[in-house]
């Protein structure tokens, strides 16, 4: 009786999982399939398998729309944002978790307070600030504009990243820290040589979260980037809307180009990511 019941439960579980997995993946499958079809077939057919596989659409999208340029821009911005976040906030997390200084707790709470300020609140002031600093506007170069684009994203990621790093570092045994100090390591040495190498899960978590966020970011870059040559992929993709007739297959080819790098990064790091995320959040 019990065995029968648990067998039913397991079968039921697989049914639930399979059903949801289809829902979950279907939009993505449709994206892939439409990128390989002619526009008429996208509009007319409901089959996921193209009648004739058209790789030329992706190739043409990549070439004619000069996607390589925007791809490089996106990679540049995302990599700079992610490495900045990991460096600055792992340091801060270590400072909060493993060093003592006056105002440690108060400062930490100040940082967390920023979590509740809606992003849209500071959009207008940020633009004014960047303008005053000469980072955006007609005279600003690509480097300056990218700096202006990147820093607020880094700052926006601050509270949650500090929170995750601090929790993770605090979960490592403090004997590590004390023993290294007794052996004569400096605080910096402890952070860089001992704590950071042990922190792959949390680095992966913070890295992936912010890579995805920055890679997909639309509104903030659309405000800051006024030169179409500096656009990131999402902005370029949105530009396709300006065509008179929507080419759904081109749109989907562009979308696919945009989505693939994230999936690749995610596949490589997902194991760590899940561990880091759950360690931080479940503890909280």
């Amino acid at each position: 009786m019990d065995k029968a019941r648990s067998a039913i439960a397991i079968v039921l579980s697989y049914i639930v999982l399979t059903a949801y997995a289809v829902l979950s993946v279907y939009p993505f499958l449709w994206m892939v399939s439409s990128a390989l079809k002619s526009n008429q077939e996208v509009l007319g057919s409901r089959s996921l398998i193209p009648q004739e596989v058209r790789f030329d659409i992706i190739v043409n999208t990549w070439n004619q729309l000069d996607f390589f340029r925007y791809f490089v821009n996106s990679v540049l911005v995302s990599v700079l944002v992610v490495s900045g976040i990991i460096l600055v906030y792992s340091m801060a997390g270590f400072g909060f978790a493993r060093t003592k200084f006056v105002g440690n707790r108060v400062l930490f709470i100040c940082f967390l307070g920023l979590l509740f300020v809606p992003g849209v609140t500071v959009l207008v002031p940020l633009v004014q600030l960047l303008r005053a600093l000469g980072l955006i506007g007609r005279d600003a170069g690509q480097g300056a504009t990218y700096f202006g684009l990147i820093m607020p994203i880094v700052n926006g990621a601050g509270p949650f990243s500090i929170f995750l790093f601090k929790n993770y570092f605090a979960s490592l045994p403090s004997e590590l820290h004390d023993a290294a100090r007794v052996d004569g390591a400096s605080q910096w040495g402890v952070y860089w040589r001992i704590y950071m190498p042990l922190s792959t899960p949390v680095i992966a978590t913070v890295g992936i979260l912010n890579f995805i966020g920055t890679w997909n970011a639309f509104i903030w870059p659309s405000i800051v980037l006024n030169n179409p040559d500096w656009f990131t992929l999402p902005l370029k993709l949105k530009d396709l809307d300006l065509q008179i007739v929507i080419q759904w297959n081109v749109r989907m080819a562009g979308s696919l180009i945009m989505v693939i790098p994230v999936i690749v990064v995610f596949l490589f790091l997902q194991r760590y990511y899940i561990r880091g995320l759950t360690a931080g959040a479940v503890k909280a």
Partner: protein, 330 residues
Amino acid sequence: MTQVPIAAKSPKPVARRRSSLLRALKANSGFLFVLPALIIFVVFGLYTVIYSIVLSFFRWNGFGKFSILPLACEPPACQFAGLDNFAYFLYKEPTMSRFFWQALQHNIIMAIFVTAGTVLVALPLAISLNRAARGQSMYRLLIMLPMVTAGIAVYYVWMFIYEPDGLLNSALGAAGLNFLQAKQGWLGQADRALISLMIVMIWAAVPIATILYLAGLQTIEKELYEAAVIDGASVWQQLWRITWPLLLPVTVVVIITSINSVLQGYEMVYLMTYGGPAAHTEVVGLQIFKYGFGDQRQLGMASAMSWALFVLVFAVALVNLRLLRTRTEP
């Protein structure tokens, strides 16, 4: 006797003071780890927050000069407005306040249904995942995919799904449910647009919630269920008396992050409907954006409205945290 330390103290007071200063600096040297984060925080966080607070008491169309250090505001483009901005969108100006309350209503509807939907989908999924020993990592990967591919690329797919002759309508037609079809498209029809957006939001929020629930489930000890079975508890009783209460902390995290992101978020709405049709999917964040960057800029209004949003976000978070504390501490 007592003179000895005094005598010892007197010769080099300067050196002593310096060494104690040095010691104080050394004791606080951990501060240096936080310094880079703090500088970024002050410039791009604190400064802009203060700017926004100050700006909310002014009327400014974006032309001419406005700065807070020193405070400069040149009429007629910019004028001190006191609490006018707040009064206008809260009750004084009929059109403006109607739009605001309507948008807020949409935010609240979304917060409730998206959060409830996320929990109701993610929890059974996580329980199923936890049971599925074989294929668990594959299913987990498939379920997590929406999280990775969020953003404009996936919104395009959903927009096609929702088109008048899109996938959803044809699926409904094939199932013989023609009466459910949205003839003008799911995003184009006033009575369907909001729910269509909420479905995408739930779809995008389920992955993280599922992973968090799964992690929570894996911390629950099997003995609890075994004991419950011996005591003759039904599956429902186990779920209701063991799983649900023990997962409550996870649920609170899921609820807080979900409500927070629904109240603050507007990018998806911006890209998929821009608040349409006829303001039926307007949300507060998008309205603030339009006051800040739209055709007729009222930057003070944008700031004032965003502080109203902050109060709401903060209040909800406080209530949730209080609930968590009272529920988990006996």
